[in-house]
Amino acid sequence: MKVLFFAALRETMGRSEIEIVLEAPTTVGALKSMIKLPNGETLNAVSRTQSIMAAVDQEMVDDLAMVSVASEVAFFPPVTGG
């Protein structure tokens, strides 16, 4: 499955996209504890101090949402368009 990062989070991660091989479906929250920043912190730890939003297959979701082995997941900061 593919995980995308946008805006400030893309810069913190140092990349816009990673591939993760999931053995079985999981939750967005669980996925966040599998993803590590370059400094070793997990995305889950970061999300305790700053707001990180998530989308699964291009729909906004919360941490309890399910992620399938073929989902496109994205993490990003709160939006600031307009």
């Binding site: 995308l4 946008f6 805006a7 400030a8 707001s51 989308a55 291009q58 729909e59 906004m60 994205a74 990003f76 900061p77 709160p78 939006v79 600031t80 368009g81 307009g82």
Partner: protein
Amino acid sequence: MYRSILIQVEDFSLDAALAELKMQSGLAGGLCFFTGAVRNSNLDEAVGGLYLEHYPGMTERQLDQIVDEAARRWTLHGAMVVHRIGHLKPGDNIVLVAVSASHRGEAFDACEMIMDYLKTNATFWKKESIPDGYRWVEARSSDEAKATAWDA
């Protein structure tokens, strides 16, 4: 109902948008246009320019859903949303929301709701250039309050 949703690097023309909305959406008595432009300061610092990014595919779908919601609440003849991405300078156009309806009340309300939802729900992010370098713009709670007010 006519609708057009565009995310583009290029500038847009208000004259062209007005002509398109009039031609495509029939005899609407009220046409309301909102344009947002790049400011030259933010949080007491000079802003030299903006970089805007979006989530290709998702953002287009979100804008479409926002227009759906406006069309559910009001009888609209047409709605157009144009949002620019990439590098922009102070004074440049960023966003256009244009709505046509039979009367002005519906056009004003729908235009404002689309804009309020776009600010808080659509996946766009701004990075601004300031004297010290760059910073990502942070979401404002006042924008969130404006958007949630429509749900009351």
